[in-house]
């Protein structure tokens, strides 16, 4: 095995700093007042307005209608992130289950159809999706925000590959033990997929959390604003002599980082397991 030398650590430290510094700068800057930031630019030393800024961000009513608080945006982001992750996992597991375990005439063909859509980003189908949701009167609803994006080629693909690695004998043993398709799915497949589910959950939660374009199209009502939109709207007030609340924008950005980081930390152990080994 390779013995670590001091140089390796230097490279590691530089790499870590490179990734961590922007976050530190954002956090430190958020503890100064907007005027200070406007005068002196980004800060790397702590300021004296930590509690004040974060308190304001979380509770002050803002936006154009004055009805949306940071808490509300945080909640919306959570609903979107968790709704995405859970919905995508449920849907793609069931799709993959059907593709792997049921003999369809065109199962392989269908799989490739699904797989091909992996190549198409959301932006390609964003207008038709919007049209459909608008006709269904689902604009400005959580349903409209979440449901159209639930079909996940990535998730289906990962679960399909995982299910294929489960030995056939397990299915046969379950059949002899009297477990039907639904029982087998719930009693055997789901518990075995735990690590895989954790991995997909992280990916999809972060994906949902970071959505910007889709919520912006789908919702005009400010009570559906997510954090991503909140940050943007704080910076959009450059009118006359008013300066944007940089401190609040940074505070919100820092807040926006915390939940995905927490999710990764919590699921990390399973996540790595899920992507590297099939638990036998």
């Amino acid at each position: 095995m390779h013995r670590t030398k001091p140089l390796d650590h230097v490279i590691l430290i530089i790499g870590a700093l490179f990734l961590v510094m922007p976050v530190v700068v954002a956090f430190m800057t958020s503890t100064h007042t907007a005027a200070e930031i406007h005068r002196q630019g980004l800060q790397i030393l702590p300021g004296s307005h930590l509690a004040e800024t974060y308190g304001t961000v979380l509770t002050q009513r803002g936006g154009f209608t004055g009805e949306i608080t940071g808490m509300r945006m945080l909640m919306n982001s959570f609903i979107l992130g968790i709704g995405f992750a859970v919905g995508k996992i449920v849907l793609s597991m069931m799709a993959a289950y059907a593709l792997v375990y049921f003999r369809f005439r065109a199962a392989t063909f269908m799989f490739w159809v699904i797989f091909t859509t992996l190549l198409l980003p959301l932006e390609v189908r964003i207008m038709p999706s919007y049209g459909v949701m608008s006709d269904l009167h689902l604009l400005n609803t959580y349903t409209g925000l979440i449901v159209p994006l639930l079909a996940s080629a990535t998730g289906t693909f990962y679960f399909r590959q995982f299910f294929k690695s489960i030995p056939d004998e397990l299915l046969e043993a379950a059949r002899i033990d009297g477990a039907g398709p639904i029982k087998f799915f719930i009693d055997v497949i789901v518990p075995l997929s735990k690590t895989m589910i954790a991995a997909i959950f992280i990916i999809m939660f972060v994906y949902g959390w970071n959505q910007y374009l889709w919520p912006m199209l789908m919702t005009t009502d400010e009570s559906f604003f997510t954090l991503m939109r909140g940050i943007k709207s704080i910076l959009q007030v450059w009118v006359g002599s008013q300066i944007p609340d940089y401190n609040q924008a940074f505070a919100m950005a820092v807040l926006a980082i915390i939940p995905p980081v927490a999710v990764v930390v919590i699921f990390q152990r399973w996540f790595i397991k899920g992507l590297t080994e099939s638990d036998k």
Partner: protein, 358 residues
């Protein structure tokens, strides 16, 4: 507990490939039947058709008096033990054993009693709360057998259950399977490619080749009277020597010796000789000369490989017998196996027991 009737069963795959050609087999209640054959002979396919994991293309399978062709595996009243154990990895041993019963809606107390009984029988009681991955191969196989036992099925189906174990454990487990089956008296169908396993376990042995039955019989019957050269070479270790010989006017000649065998056939035949049936000829008695090529020492005995004329021969000799470069061997007149040179089927000529120099 029930008899199993396999009546002219055929398996043809979608591509037109036929894996099993009309196999007929009657299994008595409580009997231990071993299906043996080389890989690809259709033995596993046949077992899986009985289990209901493969559809039956033709013929009929009956368990007890019930025709089961169209029944789900769960409804056939059978239990199966797989080669790779197929334990549910996320369940404890206890849950693994109980799963089949739970699905059938067996009462909780009954499940517990049966699991405890099976665990005691298989000596896995102390592992009941462990997950399969914390168990060794032998223990896993016990759990897999436990899963079959708790169900109290009409029949056990074993699909090469010992192939994943190391040689020593295989011998132990072989004995335990036999003991357990005797004790429970459950009809069993056992698939293996290991002829030794087949010989030691079976009440009756079914030798399969290319999707057809070559021979059915008690292990010793098959050993002593193989129905074809295929069976002769497959059953027994070392494999039976099969050499070219001739019969002229009822007299077999091989290696410079002749034996009167009756006048059933004339011309070339295949002569089968078990390695342990040949002895060193006593001084003064005519023998066939074998040019010794190499020796395999097995401890209790040694295998001597050599040539008689242009025919390879293997002989089992006691280590006490002195070795020479050329050895004079007897031809066991009452232990000759004669096969048709073309078709390989056994010729039923009763040898008269006289050996003479040519």
């Amino acid at each position: 507990m029930a008899k199993i009737t396999i009546d002219n069963v055929v398996k043809t795959y979608a591509g037109g490939n036929t894996a099993v050609h009309g196999v007929t087999l009657d299994i008595q209640d409580g009997e231990f039947i071993v299906l043996v054959g080389p890989s690809g002979c259709g033995k596993s396919t046949l077992l899986r058709m009985v289990a209901g994991l493969e559809t039956i293309s033709g013929g009929e399978v009956r368990i007890g008096e019930r025709r089961v062709n169209d029944l789900d595996p769960a409804d056939r009243d059978i239990a199966m033990v797989f080669q790779n154990y197929a334990l549910y990895p996320h369940m404890t041993v206890r849950e693994n054993l109980a799963y089949g019963l739970k699905n059938r809606g067996t009462a909780k107390a009954e499940i517990e009693a049966r699991v405890a009984e099976a665990a005691r029988m298989l000596e896995i009681s102390q592992y009941l709360d462990r997950k399969p991955r914390a168990l060794s191969g032998g223990q896993r196989q016990r759990v897999a057998m436990g899963r079959a036992i708790v169900r109290k099925p009409a029949a056990f189906l074993f699909d090469e259950p010992l192939s994943n174990l190391d040689a020593k454990l295989r011998v132990t487990m072989r004995g335990e399977i036999r003991k357990l089956q005797k004790r429970l008296g459950t009809t069993s169908l056992y698939v293996t490619h290991d002829q030794l396993e087949a010989m030691t376990l079976a009440d009756r042995l079914v030798v399969l080749n290319g999707g057809r039955i070559e021979q059915i019989g008690k292990p010793l019957e098959i050993y002593h009277r193989p129905a074809s050269t295929f069976v002769a070479s497959f059953i027994g270790s070392p494999a039976m020597n099969l050499v070219d010989a001739r019969i002229d006017n009822g007299t077999l000649s091989f290696g410079g010796l002749t034996v009167a065998v009756g006048s059933a056939v004339n011309g070339p035949v295949t002569l089968g000789l078990r390695a342990e049936d040949m002895q060193v000829a006593p001084p003064g008695q005519a023998g066939m000369s074998m040019q010794v090529e190499y020796i395999e020492e097995l401890g209790a005995q040694r295998l001597v490989h050599g040539m008689v004329g242009d025919q390879a021969l293997t002989v089992t000799l006691s280590p006490a017998v002195p070795l020479t470069d050329v050895m004079q061997l007897t031809l066991p007149a009452d232990r000759l196996h004669l096969f048709d040179a073309q078709t390989g089927t056994r010729l039923h000529a009763e040898p008269r027991r006289v050996v003479q120099p040519a």
